[in-house]
């Protein structure tokens, strides 16, 4: 692999996880897959602050250096934080009241709510 891939400018467009960008819950799904086996993006998450229930994929992701900060689209509160610190993954679920995980969810996340 070439040794010249490192650049300091923030990346944009199709390179979706850049610096301090507002993205969707989907953008955090790869990192969350290092912690949870089922795909969380379609799982309804209840915000501990306002009680809004949204699929994780519909939450807002702010991509920061150490990891995504996931906020409620209704009240803006931090619902979930994931950070990579040294060789550890830190998960702060303070803002999450409830996550409802579909049974038998494959990593590709085939699930329907009817």
């Amino acid at each position: 692999m070439k040794g010249d891939i490192r650049k300091t400018a923030d990346e944009r467009g199709d390179e979706r996880v850049g610096e301090a960008l507002r993205l969707d819950g989907n953008a955090a799904a790869g990192l969350l897959s290092e912690i949870f086996v089922p795909d969380l993006t379609a799982a309804p998450v209840t915000c501990a602050y306002c009680g809004a229930i949204r699929a994780l994929g519909a939450l807002l992701v702010y991509a920061h250096g150490m990891g995504p900060v996931i906020r409620c689209p209704e009240c803006g509160a931090v619902v979930l934080r994931v950070a990579r610190i040294r060789n550890q993954l830190w998960l702060d679920p303070t803002g999450t009241r409830l996550v409802v995980m579909p049974e038998a969810a494959a990593p590709s996340g085939h699930q329907t709510h009817k």
Partner: protein, 273 residues
Amino acid sequence: MSSDTLVTREPRGSSVPSRAPKIAWRLATVVDVVTETPRARTLVLDVPDWPGHRAGQHVDVRLTADDGYQAQRSFSIASAPEDVRIALTVQRLDDGEVSPHLTDVLRAGDRLELRGPIGGYFAWEAALGGPLLLVAGGSGIVPLMAMLRHRATALVAASMQARHGVPARLLYSARRWDDVFYRRELARLAEDDEALEVALTLTHEVPSGWTGFRRLIDRMMLAEIAWPPGERPQVFVCGPTPLVEAVAAALVELGHDPALVKTERFGPTGGSA
């Protein structure tokens, strides 16, 4: 939304039972590189033990420098779940760490580390029915193209009645004609299928004789292209963050159910659309 008459092929891996494997990094091999626009290439990849994906999902790509430094980015899958190989269409960003390597350096036979498929929220399959409204800005067309390719494949054997049960409309914003991805394929898909409509808007420069839209996507354009909210179309919006947020807000103002409007933000750009 009667979709029971549709012939759909189950995406490989979607019936995996509860002991689902963890998403792992895999070493993919580039089998082909296709030029889509002056700034975008499609990488056709052979991925060992690929578990299958759903249209709309993405992968994470990881590059490792000689000194161990790693850079990782997400790229949407352009290919249909029915394809044996995975296609990623990557737009080159001049100041990017990852995309110039993917668009300029990689050649057939090269290897690439990726993990996926990721994200079951922004995903559609023919069995979910329609109408299907797709709104793309710039390279945001990529996951929506996977949906259109999947739709075309899944409906190919379906009766005309079933096909009309899943009508689809694409509204695609690009800066100029040369920046439009998959031009020929989109034209062919629309030509072959009465139930598919493709509308382009070119925001910076139009070719002579252009009769299509020539402005940023706005509420009036959406009102013209989208079905009435009462038809309850499933909406997927993908592109730069400002475009996605403007489109989603306008659709909700027009009366569409926010729960049916799914978004995938690619982050702000210098204005790819």
